[in-house]
């Protein structure tokens, strides 16, 4: 299904050209100006160009399960009183997507946002299209289907009005929640019908074909790209009335917690529940068998569930359990030993993933060779809402409520676990109290369903504690990245070697061979956009001994930390300005040619087709220059202060960050200010983009300073926010200035949630060096020099 909007040049039908002026070939004008400046271009649009014909551009949505749906009958309902209901089918975990995608439909159909309510879809991809809310995909994949849906709804409303008035539909104009009759000269008359009056007639009409749709030109947008639309749940959140996973209340509902093996693959050898059952309020204890199938995917860990009349009773019952565990082979996992093993692997040639030119000769002929290893520990997402789900089974049908990032995948596996046909399982999506990738897994949801089944269908809320969340995660990988650069006699980098060693996420989904897979390679490893003639990217083997999963920004964190730190180190070594040197390495304005550069044949471009989403160095350089200019790059700073810069192209967006570091007399590293520039193409809600990038700065600060997960004897050593630390009010980037590039009309939409984190890590490490001459080579680094 093609879902890409490009202005159609040849066959654009002349609709509504009631007061046409000479038609400007907007795209060629824009392209020319964009190439020259990379900045905002505005073109005056006459009333006749209020709407335009567009053809969809391809996105990665075509390769996702259940793809996209754009049917107004699925996404829109209009009450007789005019209240418009719009379905949000992606999960809300703080990005604002539950507001942003409905805004697109609302804008295109000409509805008034004040008269719209949002309805959250249950997990049902055949009906709504893909619902995997991760990978910064929601806006990238759905801005076009949502525009299509809104445009179709608008034309249906206009057609319904035309039928009532007995005029041609071209004389009917939907705007501000009503359809207005136009005069022969195209001007608005005082005759109008509200959406509520037209609803029945409009909904009875067939949905117009995609190639007959007209879309608003950007000048006509009322919401897209405008101002600061508050999230739909804002008031409820401030009043404590927003509904998260643990806020579901059902008649007769019980509360459960579970004791799980601390070593992955561990099993209950024997257990005694007598004491647990004596705890007041404890009503039942059940063993759940752990999934023993490898790969583990999102199967449950197994263990002993305690059910009570309150969460407190269940927790006390769990404390009273006596369990003997069989740890299994992963008890050997030790983070200190594993880091040594990975470092040794990174010092040896690995599997070649990308080769360009002749790196061996470049290194053999180098005047100087730079080499550095960059280490990063595991991390856990630790969203503020611990994992939780509610389930009940009535008459052989299961009803489940959960903060799920992937509600349809979860629903399928719940059905399999309960041995029910999928039609008998309903999964309601609550608000997510943060996700960051952990709630893309659904082990916790299956647990709730299975405990309810053990209880004969009684409603039960399965609550994970913070300790459970820290110790039973799907962890961000642990890694050693080695960067080597060959430098010739004139100080030019002639060769680049990047070796990555990290247990792979793919080990969660298929038999582990110790190597990463194209999705990880594509996250800032093989696609480093440097104009260096000889490049080799290699992957060393590292087996997984725990569950590896997604963490906001995923593999761009270790890759970009290493690459952007190495750029900073090289600049220092060569006596160059770090920003100028970064721009020089990126080189000329061009769209990278993956084949010529030796990218792998299965190169993964964040899932998007490369031709529609090429890596454009002009856009990357533009955000670097923008962030540097806004941050006052080059300004004189006091002693023990410094600026650091880093940038990348990721999730089809371009992000550059400048971090300002100031080091206190006692060595504490502070971040008084940071400046981030993003080019994410056509965007919906700039207010939420700023929020996402402010938040990315805080998460990156946590990742750089505080957050590390280590294993000893196979078990996670950390337990809570006491020893798994995150940034707090006393040390966070105090002022994050966000600059959003107004890319030319037609620039394809990129992601926002993920790409802000990794460049901030690199920029922070480079700023620490600028302020202290001390180089961070290992994360987390602590917040004191």
């Amino acid at each position: 299904m093609l879902q890409y909007f490009e202005k159609e040049q040849e066959s654009a039908p002349k609709l509504r050209a009631l007061s046409a002026i000479a038609k400007v070939d907007r795209r060629s004008v824009l392209n020319g100006m964009f190439a020259a400046t990379g900045m905002l271009v505005s073109v005056r649009v006459s009333p006749a160009e209020a709407l335009e014909h567009l053809v969809p551009y391809p996105t990665g949505a075509a390769d996702m399960p259940d793809k996209t749906v754009a049917d107004p009958h699925v996404f829109v309902a209009i009450d007789p009183d005019g209240l418009v209901s719009i379905v949000a089918h992606r999960s809300e975990m703080g990005t604002g997507i539950r507001t942003s995608l409905p805004m697109v439909i609302c804008d295109e159909m000409g509805a008034n946002w004040e008269r719209v309510r949002i309805v959250q879809a249950p997990g049902d991809e055949p009906r709504y299209g893909n619902q995997d809310t991760d990978g910064s995909r929601s806006t990238r994949h759905f801005i076009q289907p949502m525009r299509q849906c809104g445009a179709a709804m608008r034309q249906m409303l206009e057609a319904a009005a035309a039928a009532k008035w007995g005029v041609d539909a071209s004389l009917c104009r939907a705007k501000n929640h009503q359809v207005i009759l136009l005069g022969k000269d195209g001007s608005e008359t005082s005759t109008a019908l509200g959406f509520g009056d037209l609803a029945a007639g409009a909904m009875a009409l067939p949905v117009p074909a995609q190639d007959t749709l007209l879309y608003k030109t950007p000048s006509e947008f009322t919401l897209i790209g405008k101002g600061a639309t508050p999230i739909t749940d804002l008031r409820a959140i401030t009043m404590g009335k927003a509904g998260y996973g643990a806020d579901v209340r059902l008649p007769g509902m019980k509360y459960a917690v579970m004791s799980r093996p601390v070593v992955l693959g561990g099993k209950v050898k024997k257990y005694d529940a007598v004491k647990a059952l004596k705890v007041p309020g404890v009503e039942a204890v059940h063993e759940l068998a752990g999934n023993e199938t490898i790969p583990r995917k999102f199967g449950i860990l197994g263990g002993i569930a305690v059910v009570g009349n309150s969460t407190y009773a269940a927790m006390r019952g769990r404390d009273a359990l006596e369990i003997e565990w069989d740890d299994g082979p992963n008890v050997s996992y030790d983070s200190v030993a594993f880091d040594k093993e990975m470092t040794a692997t990174a010092s040896q040639p690995g599997k070649v993933i990308r080769n360009q030119g002749d790196p061996d000769s470049a290194f053999a002929n180098a005047k100087e060779i730079f080499s550095a290893d960059y280490h990063a520990q595991h991390m856990v997402q630790a969203p503020m809402e611990p994992l939780v789900a509610v389930a009940r089974i009535v008459d052989g049908k299961a009803e489940v409520w959960a903060p799920a990032q992937s509600p349809y995948g979860a629903r399928k596996d719940i059905a399999a676990a309960l041995k029910m046909p999928i039609e008998n399982v309903t999964l309601h999506v609550t608000l997510l109290g943060g996700g960051f990738g952990r709630k893309s897994a659904w082990d916790f949801i299956i647990e709730a369903a299975l405990v309810s089944q053990k209880l004969g269908g009684t409603p039960v809320l399965m609550q994970w504690t913070r300790e459970d969340d820290i110790r039973h995660g799907y962890y961000h990988t642990v890694s050693v990245e080695r960067i080597e650069a060959a430098i010739d006699g004139s100080g030019k980098v002639t060769g680049w070697r990047h070796r990555t060693v990290a247990p792979s996420i793919i080990s969660t989904f298929k038999e582990d061979d110790g190597y990463s897979f194209p999705i990880e390679y594509g996250m800032g490893f093989v696609n480093t956009p440097f104009e260096i003639p000889n490049v080799r990217c290699e992957n060393g083997k590292a087996m997984a001994h725990t569950r590896i999963g997604w963490f906001r920004s995923v593999s761009t964190i270790p890759h970009t930390f290493a690459v952007q730190s190495a750029v900073g180190e090289l600049a220092h070594k060569l006596g160059r300005d770090p920003k100028d040197f970064l721009l020089e390495l990126i080189g000329s304005d061009r769209k990278l040619d993956p084949k010529a550069l030796g990218f792998p044949n299965d190169f993964w471009n964040y899932g998007d087709p490369y031709d529609a989403f090429p890596i454009d160095t002009a856009r990357l350089k533009n955000v670097i220059n923008l962030a540097a200019a806004k941050a006052g790059w080059g300004k004189t700073l006091p002693e023990r202060q410094g600026l650091g810069i880093a940038a990348h192209c990721a999730w089809s967006s371009y992000v550059a960050t400048v971090v300002h570091v100031a080091i206190d007399a006692d060595g504490k590293i502070r971040i008084p200010e940071a400046t981030t520039a993003i080019d994410c193409g056509l965007y919906i809600n700039p207010e939420r983009i700023r929020a996402q990038l402010e938040g990315a700065a805080v998460m990156a600060t946590s990742n750089t300073f505080y957050s590390g997960i280590t294993f000893k004897r196979g078990a996670v050593e950390q337990s809570n926010f006491t020893d798994y630390n995150v940034a707090r009010m006393s040390n966070y980037p105090q002022k994050v200035n966000v600059h959003i590039v107004d890319a030319p009309a037609g620039t394809h939409t990129g992601g926002v949630g993920e790409p802000g984190v990794a460049p901030f890590v690199g920029a922070l490490c480079n700023a620490i060096f600028a302020a202290s001459q001390k180089r961070v080579r290992s994360l987390p680094a602590g917040d004191t020099i």
Binding site: E92, M93, I237, G695, F721
Partner: protein, 150 residues
């Protein structure tokens, strides 16, 4: 029977006095605005007021609250128009929103005690409240805004 005043209503309690107030409020009274975040008093998501003082309801037992006046987020303002809530909305503070009830209760207690807190005082008082989405910049601004009168 022992009672606690919660949001202006007297509630009977006859269970284990060692139960954290958090679970009585959430599971006993179905006041779900107060959140469970860490269970160890280190994240602030469960913050409520006991006799006007911000406390972690996961570390305060029901026994300790008996005979006292407890306010949860639901009781801060029946219309949601406490100055802190208004400031939160004006600056679009929340992202996922999960920690925000705790943040708002902590901030409201701060402003009640100190109507014009310095930046350092804001940091000191708010340091116990974690926001994993990273809304700190706006939380700080919103407290200043609320202190200035919204």
């Amino acid at each position: 029977m022992p009672t606690i005043s919660i949001n202006g209503e007297n509630k009977n309690f006859s269970g284990d006095p060692d139960m954290p107030l958090l679970w009585f409020v959430r599971d006993g009274l179905n006041l779900t605005g107060t959140k469970f975040g860490c269970g160890a008093g280190v994240c602030g998501a469960c913050t409520v007021h006991v006799d006007g003082v911000a406390v972690r309801s996961c570390q305060t037992t029901v026994g300790q609250a008996l005979g006292k006046t407890v306010t949860t987020i639901e009781g801060l303002s029946t219309t949601g128009d406490h100055p802190v809530q208004r400031a939160w909305r004006q600056l679009n503070v929340p992202q996922c929103g999960f920690c925000q009830a705790g943040q708002i209760m902590q901030a409201a207690a701060l402003i009640a005690k100190n109507p014009d807190p310095s930046d350092a005082q804001i940091v000191e008082v708010m340091d116990g409240n974690i926001c994993r989405c990273g809304c700190y910049q706006r939380i700080h601004e919103a407290i200043r805004l609320a202190a200035g009168g919204v």
